[in-house]
Structures are given as structure tokens and as C-alpha cells.
Symmetry: D2
Subunit: 480 residues, 4 copies
């Protein structure tokens, strides 16, 4: 029977919001968030918890340092807290954003998978690498869900950790009444791209991202839209025309991509799928190809032809090293005055959500939440991505309708893997997790015995991160 | 298979909106609407069509007269149009609000039903009277839907005609791609009542209707909420406490109600159902009792005990006569200077919807639309009432979740009647309509033969309004 | 997710079947069963367990006495066993057939309900009396299900105890992998009646019950058929014609029924519903009227008009007293030679089922099992009655299709009560059980406060039998 | 709303059954059928219709010739009829079994697909070849369904034409009330294999096919069982043990298979899937691999490793030539006395079905019928294969339950293709058919542009057989 109530009783409006940040040592997102909060109209306290306490300390110091700037409009205090329960105790809002050492996890995900003949584009959210990331991460997030139930059962919990669908689903599987929402930037980037198209191609010179309204649906990183407006003007006819243009029908060689970043996005996969199925993918092409897996065929050349470049393990390793990475921010350099600091707001939807929940302006954005009907034709309960309206104390998904059957089919295949692995994680059943692995369309390009070898090799390489799984009892790991 | 797209492609933002008003001779609502539009920030033209052309003429004259007032902020032109197709041709927005002569319809609905022992409280939307109103009205609205498809297929169509669920459902049954929305004031009145409670009982002295946010769901006139906030503050604990108070446990005698209006609402039925089922009804008690029919037991006394007074046929007859009614407005007196006119805006949600669709502020309100998942556990496709977010060119229902099973059961019983009668109307199948009538919980208090007699008597009394039904071929009317 | 397997792994074929009979002191059915087994081609042992050990002893003695008759074809041994676990240990087949002292249960069910204005026809399976019987019985059957899981997890469990739908559902709710089947004679009686009609009215002089094949569906005591064949000949045209005949349109007065048994069945309700809805009810009219409750309107006269006579509490009391009852059999008189005994087989489907399971001829009969798709449009998991095919070790329901919507609506209302009460029984939640009670269509003819009074009075009268319910914590029982 | 009735009103029992055989010139099956009928206890007339009238004439002659044999027990007359409507007029039973010239259809299916890199094992029911066979065949079967509606609306229609799922689904799509059943031998062959295992490995020396009872479910050629009994004995423990044995873990080289027939079946794929997913595939491995497509990876070697040999186009071509084929029977040689003829019954389930429908013994066998609940978790309405019970005038599917999620996922992918192509065939929409083609897991191993090339090449090669499709209007065929 459906739950009697969708009650989300957290009273969000507050003059002194308490945010617990699990993974608060983040070098990438925290520095932006601290600035956004400083320039917001919400006051509060943020507790930073991290496996690496010194990172949390550094961020707390930076957060408080920012508060001393003149331009600050809100009052925030930051503390690093070493005990997770203490960090969560009575929190109004919980942020989840963690990752393991990529050298021991992400790098083998990519390298071993490639050695077995699967040309992963990203490997972070689906396919062999994504499934192993899920297997490593889910047990931790089950524990977090249980702690939220104990310490702050009504808190709004925002999960940024990948794979967002697996992980957010696991939070609900462990604590069905949790108020959890998975968040991701891909849809927002796609809206930015649509605004750019509107400005440059569709004769709407003033179009901005915030003018773009789309009916988004699917699962995280495999989202689609079937309606798009720019400030009330229907973009569909323009999109259909554009899809036939030369710009939407370009091909690339491996050479063309030699010097571009793996984040490069030419939208060629998106236009191709739009032409094929009549609905428009709405996430980066590098992610889409791991779900619509025919684009991964024919190895490097096959993938590059679409302007998509594989994110290799060397990139991941480098990114982890703060001295090398371009994605992370050196807050110490700012605090020490080595680099000039300028307080500025980012474009993050999270702050709009926080203000909306706190009684500010009503806000519509994409969220990942369990399907209670907002996404037609895809399994009930699985975590889907659709729009939601955020208002004081509430986040409510919008009814997004369904898919053309062929697209639904492509989406449901991954839902089946996600649900199988989350079910398997209840008892640490490795054999059941392997069943979810086997039906993944990337894995389906291997013979079953090759798939088993790949699975076993990944387990062996990442054994330290899989301690919650019953590796001893697994039939599938008998392979030799 | 679910429809591929929920596309609502009407481009609403416009400097010159065209509204077609079917039933535009309205004496009650049009005078308010003309003033609201005059004080809005939307410009346009309104075409008034009515079976009684002189009423449309009078309203057009009044609309244009209003435009001459100094305070006017928007530019509107009104025309009475005698041809319905012409009125609809290319319209951006269509308003539907019609009724038949109550002396020939509503009065027999009430009187004959009462004669057969059913003590109808209102008789307008469900039960024998409501079902006959549906049977009279649906064929007309099938015709209107077909004309919308011809003349303005993408228009937003707002239906105010009762029974809102039957009628809106019939519009979609005839033209599945119609952009129709049923609108009704009951939920808004209930929000006003909640604001009053918040001010007077829950210690929130500044609470206003617009601060009240509820998770509304159900079918029109049988809506419930399972979450209620006032500006982000959860009202549930206050409501639960209040439901135990003396004020929520009052009883009434027939004498108590002698001089009150039938619109009197004491909320005693609502509190009783809240105590029983844990979710709060959210429409006037006089309507709720016709769906939760145990409150109709024991005749007048049984009903009055809850502070609910039957709306008798005399009231209906009087209301129809403009010289008697207090609900209608004498625009001629204003134009002739017999009565002083003061231009003022009403509190109507419709204007907010219009402005939202036209690119104004995003607006959340309750709407009646086909269930595509927004209402869990109730039949797909049936017209349900939930919140929706209105933005430029779009109206999207919010995912409202489900009911506790016993409440779902009470709601689904009426959905079954509604769906059966709408299906029957495709071929004018009177016997099938009678099956929908028979399973109505009010009718279930009669023996089958009594029910047949009642049905036959109503058909005979209203035969002129049932010309689209195959009365000749009906087995059930053989009764003698 | 649906269960992976419908495995029913009990190996039924055996030369030495072990049957555990819970409620084995039965005076009515056991004497027939012992004779049927004696004349069957299955051998085995039956263990008789009863709350009243002396009754079990008496039956064991009789069973063994029967085995000494010359005509016996099978080898059976009977033992009375005082420990329930011991009786169940390793059983191949379990029979459940128990009841409480009707003077303390059935009699107040009927009398108190009548005092509150509900004219129960039988009161044994639905409506106030049926719901209270369920509330008394379910906790016991949860315990039995748990013992089956411990002692004979793969046994086939046949439940004859009323209310069959509630009780069988509770067995599955407690132990989802149980191989339980609810059995009832109503459908078989209706097939006998159809055979009689075929012989006497439809020109098929040799028609027998076993020639009648129907597509039965619904819930126990509210079953319907939409196909009927006699040895391959479609009876539908005959049935449609007959329903218009005088014989199918008779009326009765209370005087007409003065001397008839409450088991009297004139089929007038069945024909009336067939005329109204196009599908034919297929259980005794006395049961049907408690589900299609419009036939209970207008008290005694209203009910008697259909040839249905109320089963009063005096009848129940008398029936319990073996010296008075005509339904029970005095096996002692046989064994003592006071009455002449003639060994003869009954017409019981149970023996065919047993032989079919044991590898004998494949057999199709009606069973009550959880809905896994065999009954379209009615809630998944609820216990429905459809045909099933019995073969060696297996019982598989046949896909029965759906209902016309109005009939589905009438059925689903009761499913909602059943599911609500079974859910409530998990924690002994009396308030939730009361919600299921409140939505019952018979109870819906009372005001909510009258319903509460009735409920409270029944609880007070039967408190000793409701010890597993949390009566202390119940809000609803605060009534005074 | 579900249909009100599952009525199958054909009165099958008859002393003079009329069978219309569309495709009655069959060289393979008709000679067996004529003998089976001659030795049956059903009398009647068979009308043979074929695109090749001379083949129908030959078979009619043979059928009548058989009737002159002494051993004959039933009275049958055969006529070749040149007009399809005349052949169908008033028929009780219709047999559908047709095929196009394989040189122009099957051969290009196989060769072109292989040229594009897909190593089809059979290519007859799914994957590129199967989808094209469906596209060629469906329009014809729509026409047949329309003729059945006209000429014999209540007839039982047995479809033997591949792809059985697509084709049977199309019959229902065109004429929803048709009494059509798809039949196929694969499940029966698998039961024979199980009987052999029972005899040789599981210690049941007398086991025969008819003793094997399985709970079969899935779609044709991708059926699975989750229960298996031999005369009531559960085989599951034996099967689980056997799956670990050497015999169930054999590997093959291409050389091993050089001289074996393509019909060779080692069951190695079945055992592998059983070990992976816990349920047992139940059709020939050569078919299973086209649905569980990981077994097709790595080309010839990959497939042969499982003991499966590709059915090449040369085999198909040879088979078509009666002078070469070993599958067809030379009835002329018999009639001319060139070969000795011995009248003998085959093992065909069809005759048992015919006798069961005609009032003979109740019979349980596997059938392909639209899913009305018999197969849980797979789309409603799609044609699924489960057991059914055949009795006088009726065929009722048995409720088969669901799948473990991963298996359901593999099955549903093909259902999505089947449903998409059947929908596309309503308007001959080639682009929509291509969408169904694109999501096929075999096609998913190609880049979208390669898939388009393959599709276009197949259309061009078989254009004469695709006249009912709108090739002119197809976007997808613009490829150059």
C-alpha cells in the first residue's frame, strides 16, 4: 500500500539553520558554498565532518575567514566536528558529498575495465566502474541513513555523491522516511547550453539559463526532456530544425580531440538520439553514452567520432592531487594572501533550494527522488530525476509524464541494475550484485565468463573497500 | 503505452491575449473578472459567447465600460459573439462556465431525489442529482472539446462548470490532447479557513491565505490534505490538538441552523473525518458529506447535527432569479449609475494563473487534471485535484503521493461512478450510466428497484436535457 | 519486486500421506472426510488436534472404526494429538477448520449488530459480524502460520475457517511462503444449481455438476462468473434468456419464508445482479447480499423480498448444540450401533484435490489464493477466488481476467476492509481495524458515532476473544 | 479498463469440426497432422488454403488418401479451396502456418546481417532477421485477423508462423476479441530433454515427457521455468546439483561442431544461465542466445564454445528445396507407392488441444496468449508463453508468477521491441519500426549509423515483401 503520507515535516524556516556537511573537507565545492552562504539571506551554523579531519579543519577556518569580509550579508559560523553523530545531532540540513581515494578505487575501475575490453567513457555512475563505485559507497550511506534516523530524522538530506541514483536509492532503502534529495549539475549545464542556443541560433538574444524551462525526466545522468520553453516560448520547433543542421551533424576524429578536456561536450550524441527517438537527452554526452551504450561501440574511434573523449585514469589521479588539479581551489593560498581573493556568488541551485526551503522565493529545479508517480512507466520507488518545486519546508516533484516506449526501455535497463544492486546490498549478497552487473548493457558485450573475470578482478583490486559484502560466501568469486 | 509527451505547446505569453468565454453571459463571475483583468498586467480581447446572446451583450458592454475607468492598468476589449466556432477561433485561453435553467434541472434533481428518500445535501456534483447534472452536461462538453480541437487545439481551457470532475474528464475523453484544467474555489476557501485558525488558534497573528501551503489530493469536492504549512511552519501538531478541542466537537440541532445560509460551514465533518482517518478533508462540509455518505444518514437531523444544512430546491430557484438572488451582480445598475461602482480586484486564483501562464510570477494552486501519476493509488486518467505549478506556458501537477487505504477506498468508489458514466456517454448508453448510478454510495441505500424508479423519474422529468442519450434503447427505463 | 519463484515444492505423491487436522474435533465435516478417505486411493495417517481434546479423541476413534468396514479401499490411521507442534511436525497436508463457541461470539455478533440497526443476513464473513469474526480468528491463524513455518514449511495448508478471505490472507501475511489455499462450497453449490437449470430449463437432461465449467472470480462469498459451459456448450444465451423469465423475477414476502431454512436459496438476488451488471453472482444469495448491500436495505421485508432469510442467532445457538443441530453427525450413535451406518463417499472437492496433488487425475476447481495476476483489476496480494488446476504436487490458479468496472468497484470496497483489518492485526491496532470497519458498506449506513458505539459494544461483548488486540491503547474505545 | 469478459464462446464440441488451414500446402507438418486426425476421435472437414494452390491440392489429395487406410478411427474430408474467405467461412478452428520464399527473405536476413557484423544464430524470431521477418509477416496477419472477424469471429485460431510472439500479438492488435493462440514446440522439446535427464541422471527410469510438469513463463523462444516436477517429484534439487556437474560445464570448439546439425542442442547455455540467475531457460540454446545476447559475443568462436551452431543461409536455402530437405515429407512418393507408407500418430500437442477443446480429456500445455496477468511483471497485453488448461470450448492460461528482476529485465527488452514494431505496423511507420530495431540488444552492439545502414540494406533487399510499410515517407531510409 502506498504510504499514507508524504509528510516532510522539517521546519526549514529558521533564523539559525544548522547544516551538517558529511565530507566537509571538500576542496572543490565547499569554497564556493561558503561564499554563497556569506552572500545569502540565511544565517546559521555549519558543522564540517570528514574522514580526513584536517581537511574539515581547513575548510572551517576558511569559512570563518570569509565571514570577516565586508560584503558579507549573512551570519555563518563553521566548526569542524570529529564525531559524525555529533555533527548530525539535530541538524536541519545535511549535505552528503564524499569520495574514496581515487588511486585505489577510480583508477582500477577504469583500468581493469578497459583491460577487459570495455571502453568506459567516465565509469563513475554506471557500467562496471559505476557499479563498483556503488558497491563501495552504498554500505557507507546505509550507515549514514541510519544515523540520520537517530540524530536528525526530519532533516533535509542533500546527496551529491555519485552514483547519485544508486546512493540516494540506498538512503531510502535503509530509512524509507528520510527526506533525501539527490542533486547534480548536469541538467543545469544543459539548460545553460539551451540558453546559449536560444541566444545564438534561435533569435532570443537575451535568453539566460534561468529563462529555460524544461520537462526533465529519467534517471540521473540519463535524463531527457520532451518540452522546452524559453521564457514561455516553445523551443521545440527550433530544436527540431536545428537537429537537421550541420552543427548538429558533425563528426570528430581522435586527433580532433587530442588537446580537449574530457569535459568537452559537443552535444552530437544528444542530437543523434533526438533525431532517433524524438526526445532530447539532457545531460553531458560523456554520461549519456554510458547509458545509451551503442555509442561506446568500436572503442576509442567509435566514441571520439561523437566528440566525446574518455576520462582516463590518469586524469582522475591527477585531479586528486591538489597540486595538479585544476578543479580544486587552494583556500590556504587565499587565506595566506598568496592569491587574491574576491568574494563572489556562484550559480549553484543549492542556495536557491536552501532559501526556498527557508521561506524564500518558490524555486523549481531538477531533483533526484523516489518515483511516487512523477515519472510514468518507470518502476515505482526507484530514484528518478524530474523537476520539483521548492517552497517553505517542502520539496515536491512535478508530474513529468512518460517516455516513448523505446526510450523507456533504455532507461529501465539501468533501473533494473540499480534496483538489483541495492537489493543485494541489504545482505551483502555478492552473487545478486553480480546479476545486476551481468545485465548492464556494457557488460552484455562480454561473454558471461569474461564478465565474471572482470567482476572478480575488480573485487580483488578493491577488496579493502568492499568489506561490507560477503566476499567469502560468493559463488561468483570462485573463478580461477 | 503512456503518451510520449506531455507537451503543452500553447505559447501563452502575449501582448494581446485572446480569451473565449463560453457561458459569457454569467451574472456572477464575469463582473469580477472584468475588474480583475482591468487591474492586471495582461492585455487582450475577450469574446463572450452564450446561449442567451443578450446576456453576452450586456457583459460585453459592461466590460468595455469598465475599461473607461481611470484606475485601469490593462487594455481589454470585449465582444459578444453569436457563433461558437468564431468565438473559439484561434483563442489562447478558453473559459467554460455554463448552466441550464435550474427550474427545469436542479430543482427536479433535488426534489425527486428527496422524494425517493435520499437526503441530498447539495446534489450538484455527485449522488443522484450530481450524476444527472453530469448526464445533462457531458454531451455539451464533448461538443465543446471537439470544437476546441478544430478551432484552437493548443488553447488552455479552464472549466468552471460542475460537476467539475465529470465534465473535465469528458473533455479529455473526447479530445485527449486538450489542455484542460478544472478549477474550483473549495480548496481556496479551506485555505482561508486554515489561515483564520492559524491567526486565532495557533498563535500566528499575521497568517493569510497565501501563507497556507497544503498537499491537497483527491477528486473535486472530495479533497484531502496530509500536510499543511503556514509560511513554512508545520501546522500538523496544532491541527491534531485542535481536533480534540471542544470547537472541533460541536453538535447542532435543526433549530440551530434555521436561519443560516446553506453555505454555512462549521468544519465539524472535517474534524470528525480527520479524527477517524488521520487526514483532513479540504472542501466545504456540505460537499464532503455527499462523498463520505455516512454523514447523510438519519435524514435532516443526521445531517444538521454536523452543522450542515441542505441546499433546497427553493434556494436554487430563487438564486436563478436575478431580482431575488444575492449572489449575482446587477451590472446594468452600475452602468446606469443607479448603484455606485467602485473598481476593485477580487481574490481569484484565475488571474494569478493567467499571469503565470503569460510569463508572470510562478504560481502554485490546486487544479483538476487527469491523473498521470500525481495522485498515487487512484485510477490513472481519472481527473484528480492536486496542486500544480503554473509558469510561462505551462501547468504541471505536483506529485501528491497517496492516501491511507480507507480514504482511498472512499474516493475510488466515486471515481468508479465517474468513469462509468463518462464511458457510457460515448455511445449514450443509458444502461451503463445506470450501472454507475447504482454503485453510488447514496444510491446504495436504496433497493435496486427503488434506484431504478428514481432513475426513471429523473429521466422523465429532465428528458429535454438528455437528448444525446439513447433513451429509446434503454432497458432500465422499461420500468413501469 | 515480484517473488522470484512460485515454487510449491511439497512432494505430495506418497504412499503414506500425513495429514494434520487442526480443529479435528469437527462434528460436521470430519465424519464425511473419514468415509471419503476410506474409499479413496490414497493411504496415510491423520493427526487430529483440537482445543477440545475429547472431540479429537472421538473422531480418531470413529476414523479407525470406519477403517474396519469391508468396503474400504484405502489404508488410514487416525490419532488424536494434544500438542499442536507435534501434530504439524513434518505433515504433508494441513487442514484448518476451527471455530469459537458461537454462544459467546456468533450470537453477540448477530444480536448486537441488529440492535444497532444493521440487518445482517449471515454475519459470518463480512459486515460487522464478519469483521469481528476476523478480528477474533486472525491472531490464532497468525500463530498457526508461524507453526507451519517451523514444523512443516512446505505442507499444503487447506483453510476452511471463515471468513475464508480474511483468514487465508492472514496466513500469507504472517508466512508469505506458505502453500495455503482457502476452500469453500459456495461455488460448487452454484455449479450444482446450474446443472439443475441445464437439465430442467436448457434442454440438457444429462447435465451434472461436473459438466459445468465456469470462469469464476471475485473474493470468497462474492464470486461471479462471466463464462459458463456445460460440457463445452456455452450456457450464456440460455442464462440471458432465463434471467428475463418469470422464475428469475419472483418476489417473496416474509410469510412465504416463515418455515424455510436460512439456507434457502432462490437465486433472485443473483438474477437481479445479472440483469443489472451482465455478470452472474456465483455464491448463495444470503452471502451475496452482505457484499452487494443494497439488498439489505429496508430491513426484514427488504431482504425477504428476494427469498433470503436472515440466519438468526437462535439458529446459530441451536446449531452448536449437537442434540439440536441437524447439520452435525452423531458418530457415537453409529459406533454404538444406535444408528445404522452406511459407508458412502460425499461429493467433496477436497478429495479430488488430495488425489490430484498425490499424482492422480488433474482436477480443476475453485480456490482462494493470493492474487498474483489471476484476477485482473483487484489488488495484487489480496486473497481472491478463481479456478485452479491441481496436479501432482501443484495448485496453479487460472487467469480469470477482470470485471466490468461497476462490479470491480463493489468487490474492491470489501478488499479494502479486508486488507485494512489484516494490516491492523500485525500490531493489534484497534483504531486501524476500526477504519476498516467504518468503510464497510453495511457500516456506512450508520453515522460515524453510531458505528463507533456498535464497534465498542462488540468489543466489550467479546473481549475475551480479542486478547491479541491492543484494547488499552485504542482511541476508538474511549467512547462512553 | 480491463475487458468485462474473457468469453471464448466458440462451441468446440462437435461431430463435424470444420478446420481452415491457411498455408495448407505445408510439406512438413500437414502429413503428420492428416495421420493424427485419422487416428483421433474427432471427425470433420479440413479446408486447405495456400498461396500455392497446387500444394493445397496435393495435400488434400493425400489427406483423403489417408482416410482410406484400414486403421483409421475418425472421419475426415479434405478440400483445397482457392478463396481465403470461403476457406474461413464459419470455421470452428483456423490453423495459420505460412512462410515466404526463404531465398528472397530468410537468406538476405541472415547474410546481410552477418555482413554488418552481427553473428545471428538463427535470425528467425528476434534480432535484425527476426524483426524483418516480423515486418514482412505482420501486415498479412492483420489481414487474416480481419478476415477471421468477418468469416468466423468465434473460431479458435492457432498460429504456428514465426515470429510467434510478434505475429500472435498482431492478430490481437487487429482484432482484440480474436481467440488466437500461438503454438511452438520448443517447450515440449525441453520437457523431453528433462524426461531424458530424469531417466538417465536422476534415477527415474520410467520418466516420460508427459510426466514432466514445469511452470513455464516468458516469451516464445525465451521461456524459463522456476518449477519442475516429474510425476509430482520436485526435480529442482537434482537440477541444481546437475548444473555443477561436468556435463553441464562443457565447452566446444568450432571443429567439434563441424558435422553436427544446426538443430544440435547441448543445453550448455541453459545451464550457464541457470547457474547465473537461478531459473532455467526452457527452449533450444540456439534460440536463447538471440535473446540473452552476451552468448553471441566474439563471433563464431564465441557461439560455438557453447555447442551452438549458426543456422546459415545455405541451410535455409537447401531446406526450401524439397529434393534436398530432410525436414519435409514426400507425400506423392507415398501415394504413388514409391515409398512405403505406415500410418502412425505423432507426438503433437495440437491434437490433444483439439480433443480437449472438443470435450475430450482436460489437457495442460504451453501456449502463447496476451498477458492478462498470467505473467507477472511483464507488460500487460503483450503475448507471453505460459501453461494453459484446455477443456471443452476453453483455453485458460495458468497464473505463472514473475521472474527474478534480472531475468525480467532481459525479457522486457524484447517485449519493448515487439510492442514498438507492432504499434508501428498500424500505420506502416518505418521510423517507429526502426526505433524498435535500434533498441534490440543485438543491434545495440552497432553504432546508430551502422544500425541504420543495416536496416536500409535489409529494406532494399526485401522491398517486395514490405509493400504495406510507408517506405516513401521514412526518414530513416534517407541514408546514402
Amino acid at each position: 500500500m502506498e504510504a499514507a503520507s508524504t509528510k516532510r515535516s522539517q521546519q526549514a524556516e529558521s533564523d539559525d539553520l544548522t547544516i551538517a556537511y558529511v565530507g566537509g573537507g571538500s576542496r572543490e565545492w565547499f569554497p564556493k558554498l561558503a561564499q554563497d552562504l556569506a552572500l545569502s539571506d540565511v544565517d546559521g551554523t555549519m558543522r564540517l565532518y570528514d574522514h580526513y579531519p584536517e581537511s574539515a579543519e581547513r575548510n572551517a577556518k576558511f569559512g570563518n575567514w570569509v565571514q570577516n569580509r565586508d560584503e558579507v550579508t549573512a551570519d555563518w559560523t563553521y566548526e569542524a566536528i570529529e564525531d559524525e553523530d555529533e555533527a548530525l545531532d539535530g541538524a536541519d540540513v545535511v549535505i552528503l558529498s564524499t569520495q574514496f581515494d581515487p588511486l585505489e578505487t577510480f583508477v582500477p575501475d577504469l583500468d581493469i575495465t578497459k583491460d577487459h575490453g570495455i571502453y568506459h567513457a567516465v565509469g563513475a555512475t554506471i557500467g562496471p566502474g559505476g557499479i563498483f563505485r556503488a558497491m563501495r559507497t552504498i554500505p557507507d550511506y546505509r550507515r549514514i541513513a541510519a544515523r540520520v534516523r537517530e540524530n536528525c530524522p526530519d532533516a533535509w538530506v542533500f546527496n551529491f555523491t555519485n552514483p547519485v541514483h544508486f546512493v540516494t536509492r540506498a538512503l531510502y532503502d535503509e530509512y524509507p522516511d528520510i527526506n533525501a534529495v539527490g542533486l547534480c549539475h548536469e541538467v543545469i549545464h544543459a539548460r545553460e547550453h539551451l540558453a546559449e542556443l536560444a541566444r545564438e541560433e534561435f533569435g532570443m538574444p537575451d535568453a539566460e539559463m534561468s529563462d529555460i524551462s524544461v520537462n526533465v525526466k529519467g534517471i540521473n545522468h540519463f535524463t531527457w526532456v520532451d518540452e522546452a520553453y524559453c521564457d514561455g516560448t516553445d523551443l521545440w520547433p527550433d530544436l527540431e530544425e536545428f537537429a537537421q543542421n550541420e552543427q548538429a551533424n558533425r563528426t570528430f576524429t581522435s586527433e580532433d580531440l587530442e588537446d580537449v578536456s574530457p569535459f568537452n561536450d559537443e552535444w552530437q550524441v544528444s542530437w543523434e538520439l533526438f533525431r532517433r527517438f524524438g526526445v532530447l537527452p539532457f545531460a553531458g554526452d560523456r554520461h549519456i553514452v554510458e547509458y545509451a551504450t551503442s555509442f561506446l561501440q568500436n572503442g576509442k574511434e567509435g566514441l571520439n567520432r561523437w566528440g566525446v573523449k574518455r576520462t582516463g585514469s590518469d586524469f582522475r589521479a591527477k585531479h586528486w592531487d591538489p597540486s595538479e588539479s585544476e578543479q580544486t581551489t587552494d583556500v590556504t593560498a587565499w587565506m595566506d594572501g598568496e592569491e587574491e581573493f574576491e568574494l563572489e556568488a556562484s550559480n549553484e541551485a543549492f542556495l536557491n533550494i536552501l532559501e526556498g526551503l527557508n521561506g524564500g522565493e518558490r524555486f523549481v529545479t531538477n531533483v533526484n527522488m523516489p518515483n511516487r508517480g512523477q515519472m510514468e512507466g518507470v518502476e515505482h520507488g526507484t530514484v528518478v530525476e524530474t523537476n520539483a518545486v521548492v517552497s517553505a519546508g517542502e520539496i515536491k516533484p512535478l508530474s513529468a509524464g512518460g517516455f516513448p516506449r523505446p526510450v523507456r526501455s533504455l532507461v529501465q535497463r539501468h533501473v533494473d541494475t540499480i534496483e538489483t544492486v541495492v537489493e543485494a546490498s541489504r545482505d551483502g549478497d555478492v552473487d545478486e550484485a553480480f546479476e545486476g552487473f551481468l545485465i548492464d548493457p556494457q557488460v552484455q558485450t562480454l561473454q558471461t565468463e569474461e564478465a565474471e573475470e572482470l567482476f572478480t578482478d575488480l573485487v580483488n583490486a578493491e577488496r579493502d573497500y568492499l568489506a561490507d559484502w560477503d566476499l567469502e560466501g560468493a559463488r561468483v568469486l570462485d573463478y580461477s
